[in-house]
């Protein structure tokens, strides 16, 4: 039975094509109808597919649909084919569902922006590529989606391309991702070399007969290279630098692409390739270590950021670190579980932040917010749910997912990683409540409403939200007055509420046995991750990555949960004390910490380090050697010199054509004489 999966990605593609080519002439409501309609249909169809999926017999999962051969060369061939199993089903529902909500929200958020149709065409093309990425049945088609979402991300980060910082951020994202893609491509080449195929099914079956590599081997190499690609796409150390800058894009884009979906592609591909990683413990360990380090590193940067979106961006990097941490200890289910809850609560955080920014007319600096609780109560409540979720308070969604990761990290014996993870969890709680208190409590610190100075004038230059394209919005806002912070329109609030509900209850599908649940989410995903675990011929001296023991004392697990909650509570209390009770303290502490404070505040100066170590040498080399040396001197020189030579020769030849008839006759006579001389010499008859 065919489920016609191809319909799902092609719906947004159709929307993007129509809007992209003709949208300029369309009215906004028509653009809305096409963009939202195609996404909504894709979501509904995905729901229908999900229902069908549960009716499939177990031997038909994964459900693979093959449509046409794409390319074939020698014994290698790739095809257009889609692959539906539990993992891609979860991703499918997240992408279409959250994507649709953010489409709705965008209608309100982008209402007064120029390039409206362009925005929605980009969003739809993103949906198309993301769905291709998660549904592809081979690495090559997946890579098409992988590159495509990078393109969509580039286009949307640079949406206000007249603003330098946005254009540069787009380039930074794209180029940083290229570094990761380079590793990923080599992984694909290795796969082709060793398995003559890029199809998931073929590769995973072939891998099952490989022994577990106790030292570095080909699977380790493939795993590490996949991780290079994943760390580019999912913003892990050392390639995370693009994500914070990506906040130059419109806020719904930050929510959809740079929080909920695209950046999780790296986690997805690591989980998808679990057959490979399970046989390469070294690569798996690297995944776990990178994830853990990223989690704490980004969390520590987030503590001192003042731009509300930057805080959330570093929080995203940090949470992605948790997902890799989960995957790295072979708890792929936990990683994907966190991916799902993160999609809900991070989209909610960004969209709430967007509602705040929108309500303040483009202000992003938390130091100019405060007391917004009474101006925008709905946004406040949504944001509160999201904040308590990400901090890890039960019974909200992220408590279950994050705790499962931490517990499985401990249970797999990586106690140091667990310790770092729990500290990062405390930091997460701290910076999120710092954001919460700074934004919603205390007194409003923005421009006073009664003076009539509205939000933009002073700040729009600095605020990333304001751009050249944006100027017309400023005018529009000025027209209806923007003196006081105000609640956003219902079209923006409704998606917030839906996401808030999801962020609240989304974790209940994975309540662990220790709390009386049955960990249904994990068991649902089990077939994907146990796909070839049974058929493992265990090599000597190596074991499968430790399966978190189910029989482990439930009391221990409960104790660790208590520790997690305690870490979250400590973060909450710290933020409460510093940013609510004693608001004078942070400045003093900053002064006391001195150099360390500045180091963290400057994001550990990683951008500067990359600039000095990599970008400057490349720039200098490109300028002096490639441009001025090879291009200007060698290539241009060769062309210019040959042109000049032709000109010189022509100058000489031109002298022959003097206009003097007798000299022409002379040439003719000389030529005739030469021919005769030649004939005499050769003796031609």
């Amino acid at each position: 039975m065919s489920l016609h999966l191809w319909i799902i990605p092609l719906l947004p593609l159709a929307g993007a094509t129509i809007n992209g080519l003709l949208g300029k002439r369309f009215s906004k409501s028509l653009v809305n109808a096409i963009a939202l309609g195609s996404t909504a249909l894709a979501f509904l169809y995905a729901l229908w597919v999900a229902i069908q999926f549960f009716g499939l017999p177990a031997d038909q999962i994964p459900h693979i649909e093959r449509y046409a051969a794409w390319m074939s060369a020698g014994n290698f061939s790739a095809e257009f084919g889609l692959y539906l199993d539990q993992l891609s089903l979860v991703m499918l529902l997240i992408v279409t569902g959250v994507g649709f909500l953010i489409h709705i929200y965008s209608v309100g958020y982008m209402a007064e922006e120029g390039g409206y149709y362009r925005y929605f065409a980009y969003l739809n093309i993103f949906m198309f590529f993301m769905l291709t990425l998660i549904l592809a049945n081979n690495y090559l088609l997946m890579f098409v989606g992988w590159e495509g979402v990078g393109l969509a991300s580039y286009l949307l980060i640079g949406f206000w391309f007249l603003k330098d910082s946005a254009a540069n951020a787009g380039k930074k994202a794209f180029i940083t991702n290229r570094v990761g893609d380079f590793g990923f491509l080599i992984a694909l080449f290795l796969l082709v070399k060793h398995f003559s195929s890029l199809e998931y099914e073929t590769i995973f079956k072939a891998v099952a007969s490989y022994p577990i590599e106790s030292s570095a081997g080909v699977l380790t190499a493939i795993g590490l290279l996949i991780m290079v690609g994943a760390s580019g796409k999912s913003a892990q150390i050392p390639l995370y630098v693009w994500l914070p800058d990506a906040m130059e894009g419109p806020t719904p884009v930050s929510a959809l692409i740079h929080a909920a979906t695209m950046v999780t592609a790296g986690v997805y591909i690591v989980a998808r390739s679990n057959a490979i990683f399970n046989r390469a413990p070294i690569a798996l360990m690297v995944v776990a270590v990178i994830g853990t380090l990223t989690a704490i590193f980004a969390a520590s940067i987030g503590i001192l950021q003042t731009d509300i979106k930057k805080v959330l961006a570093y929080s995203t990097v940090s949470q992605l670190g948790y997902m890799f941490m989960g995957c790295g200890v072979a708890a792929y289910g936990a990683g994907i579980f966190h991916l799902m809850t993160h999609a809900f609560f991070k989209a909610l955080l960004f969209l709430s932040a967007g509602a705040i920014i929108h309500g303040l007319g483009g202000e992003q600096d938390m130091r100019k917010m405060g007391g917004l609780r009474k101006y925008m109560p709905k946004a406040f409540w949504c944001m509160s749910v999201a904040t308590f979720t990400i901090a890890g308070f039960p019974p909200l969604a992220a408590f279950f997912s994050k705790d499962e990761i931490l517990w499985k990290t401990w249970a797999s014996g990586n106690h140091v990683l667990w310790l770092i993870g729990i500290i990062a969890a405390g930091m997460t709680s701290f910076y999120m409540f710092r954001l919460w208190f700074l934004t919603f409590f205390g007194e409003y610190r923005g421009p006073a409403p009664e003076t009539g100075a509205h939000g933009h004038d002073a700040d729009s230059q600095r605020a990333g939200h304001a751009g050249a394209v944006h100027a017309q919005q400023d005018d529009a806002h000025a027209a209806h007055g923007h003196g006081t912070p105000h609640e956003s329109p219902m079209i923006m609030i409704v998606p917030l509420m839906i996401l808030a509900v999801l962020s609240f209850v989304g974790g209940w599908v994975g309540i662990p046995p220790a709390l009386g649940g049955s960990d249904r989410f994990d068991h649902f995903l089990d077939p994907v991750f146990k796909f070839n675990a049974e058929a493992t011929p265990t090599a000597e001296g190596a074991t499968l990555p430790a399966e978190p023991a189910e029989h482990e004392d439930r009391g221990t697990e409960l104790m660790f949960m208590a520790i997690s909650v305690a870490a979250a509570a400590i973060g909450f209390l710290g933020a409460w004390y510093l940013y609510y009770k004693r608001t004078d303290l942070p400045a003093k502490m900053a002064a006391a910490a001195g150099g360390l404070y500045r180091l963290v505040h400057d994001k550990y100066r990683v951008d500067e380090l990359y600039g000095a170590a990599i970008i400057q040498p490349i720039l200098l080399g490109s300028t002096n050697v490639l441009w001025k040396g090879i291009d200007a001197t060698l290539i241009d020189g060769a062309i210019n010199e040959s042109a000049a030579g032709a000109q010189d020769v022509s100058d000489g030849l031109r002298q022959m054509q003097s206009g003097n008839i007798r000299s022409y006759a002379g040439w003719v006579a000389a030529g005739a004489a030469a021919v005769i001389a030649f004939m005499v010499w050769k003796g031609v008859r």
Binding site: R654, Q657, S658, G659, N660, I661, R662, Y664, A665, G666, A669
Partner: protein, 100 residues
């Protein structure tokens, strides 16, 4: 009977005179006459060979050349008159419009 080589040498001398005249002289009329001289030098070789080899095609060629020369003389003189009318000179060095 006069040997063939005599005719050929005479013809070569006449042709060389024609070429020299063509290259050296500035007056168009003289140049024109030099051309006639070259044509007739060639005619001489044609008839000499025709007589020597006992074939008629040499004679036929001569008639062709004479017809062409007559036509050329008509056209050429007309051009010369036209040139003289517009430029008031017969000096070829001053008729240099062919230059780029």
């Amino acid at each position: 009977m006069v040997p063939l080589s005599y005719y050929l040498v005479l013809s070569a001398i006449l042709f060389a005179c024609g070429v020299a005249g063509f290259l050296i002289k500035r007056n168009i009329i003289t140049i024109f006459m030099s051309i006639e001289l070259m044509l007739n030098a060639v005619n001489l070789t044609f008839v000499a060979f025709a007589a020597e080899l006992k074939v008629l095609s040499g004679h036929v060629f001569v008639f062709f050349v004479m017809v062409v020369a007559a036509a050329e003389a008509a056209v050429g003189l007309a051009i010369i008159i036209s040139v003289f009318r517009t430029r008031e000179t017969l000096n070829v060095d001053r008729v240099n419009l062919l230059k780029l």
